[in-house]
Amino acid sequence: MDLETWAKVVPELPKLLQGLLVNVEILLGLISLGFVVGVGAALLEVYAPRPVGFLASAYTWFFRGVPEIVLLFLFYFGFDQFGIKISAFLAAVLALGFRSSAYQAQIFRGALLSIPAGQVMAARALGLSRLGAIRYVVLPQALRLSLAGWSNEFSSVLKDTTLAWGIGVVEVTRQASYIRATDFTLTLPLYLTVALLFLVLTYAGNFAIGMAEKRLRVPGLEGRR
């Protein structure tokens, strides 16, 4: 693995970055889906009547207990079997998004439960409805408390986007495999470059979340890591 071999990776960088962009697209899709569904599931788990709350818990339990790869194959090939054709990209967003929703629900549920009952009581005493109390008092606090957990979830799902490789999404690892097929001597430097790209993305992302955290920070309302 001499310098010369490494130099041969440089011209391939645009292709790798193009692949990495697909990872980022999957990431954005799955995080947003996971956020919406996850917050919803957590609210149901905490506030909905028993049977509904139980269903929400069963949902999160399923998606936390099944490997990403199995979910990816289930969504991509399993739906196809019933004539529902979705692209590999969409299958990746859905499978990883629902999985992430289960983890985000867990993070958010913990935050919801850690808010003292007095906060809701004070809101109700002002005349806010139950929904109003949740919306204006509980949610803003719980979202802030969740930020630390979310930054962990971000790092973990960012890396998991590579698993979309398994169902044929042309993301960065698959791009690397294509390039590798043209010149096998490039294998090691190629994969190490991909690893490096992820290191950069992880730290950049965590830095951005850290900034957001600082901006949203409220004295007396710090999330526990």
Binding site: P116, M121, A122, A125, L126, G127
Partner: protein, 249 residues
């Protein structure tokens, strides 16, 4: 017509009967001080009045509006009854100004400008205009409690319920909260105050209510209750309280 009428309230938690038929009335502008040993149901009584806790039996009227009526618009009723908690319960994620403004914006549906002006005025009234942009964690206990009084006042309540508003405070901070409350009483606010501050009770209360074991044992004007209580237990309790907390306040 009395401003508040409470009739035969009962409340039970499991096997424990916390309220065993409590009745009282409050005229406009009146201040009633409720005293009694801890665990007697004082907080439960206050919470039953605006139905933060659901009473098992009994009725409550605010003016001619029955609070305990089936289908009563609770949010609308609660907006007219201020509540000040022992541990303040300021909204942790909001500044002092936003704490006072939230009810105006979201319950009274006031415009932003008007709400801000009103909230600032209330903060000024409790002497905390300068702290408008501070978060609860940046305020002392006494300041937090004054903000929570401003939060209640901003809603133009017909009545304010105070649940041991100074019990969580360091002794040197009690005075600033009491003086705000004294001022309110002087301006004619109708209030029920659960407190152990006998100095406050003596000088401000129109009537003192002594509760024990889920019932009202005795009630009457402070000078009568302090000098010649009808029930011996009342005198005992008053003596004990005065020893514990002193007469200052």
């Amino acid at each position: 017509m009395p401003l508040l009428r409470v009739e035969d309230l009962h409340k039970r938690y499991g096997h424990e009967e916390v309220l065993k038929g409590v009745s009282l009335t409050l005229e406009p502008g009146e201040t009633k001080v409720v005293i009694g040993p801890s665990g007697t149901g004082k907080s439960t009584l206050l919470r039953c009045i605006n139905r933060l806790t659901e009473p098992d039996r009994g009725r409550v009227w605010l003016g001619d509006l029955e609070v305990t009526a089936r289908g009563a618009d609770l949010n609308k009723i609660r907006a007219q009854i201020g509540f000040v908690f022992q541990d303040f319960n300021l909204f942790t994620h909001l500044t002092a100004l936003d704490n006072v403004r939230l009810g105006l914006l979201k319950v009274r549906r006031m415009g932003r400008r008007e709400a801000t002006e009103r909230a600032m005025a209330e903060l000024e009234r409790v002497g905390l205009k300068a702290k408008a942009s501070a978060y609860p964690a940046q305020l002392s206990g006494g300041q937090q409690q004054r903000v929570s009084i401003a939060r209640a006042l901003a809603m133009d309540p017909k009545l304010i319920l105070f649940d041991e508003p100074t019990s969580a405070l360091d002794p040197e901070l009690i005075g600033e909260v009491l003086s705000v409350m004294i001022e309110l009483a002087r301006e004619g606010m109708t209030m029920i105050v659960v407190t152990h501050e006998m100095g406050f009770a003596r000088s401000v209360a129109d009537e003192i209510v002594f509760m024990e074991g889920g019932v009202i044992v005795e009630q009457g004007p402070p000078e009568v209750l302090f000098r010649s209580p009808k029930v011996p237990r009342t005198g005992e309790f008053l003596r004990k309280i005065s020893e514990l907390y002193g007469e200052a306040g």
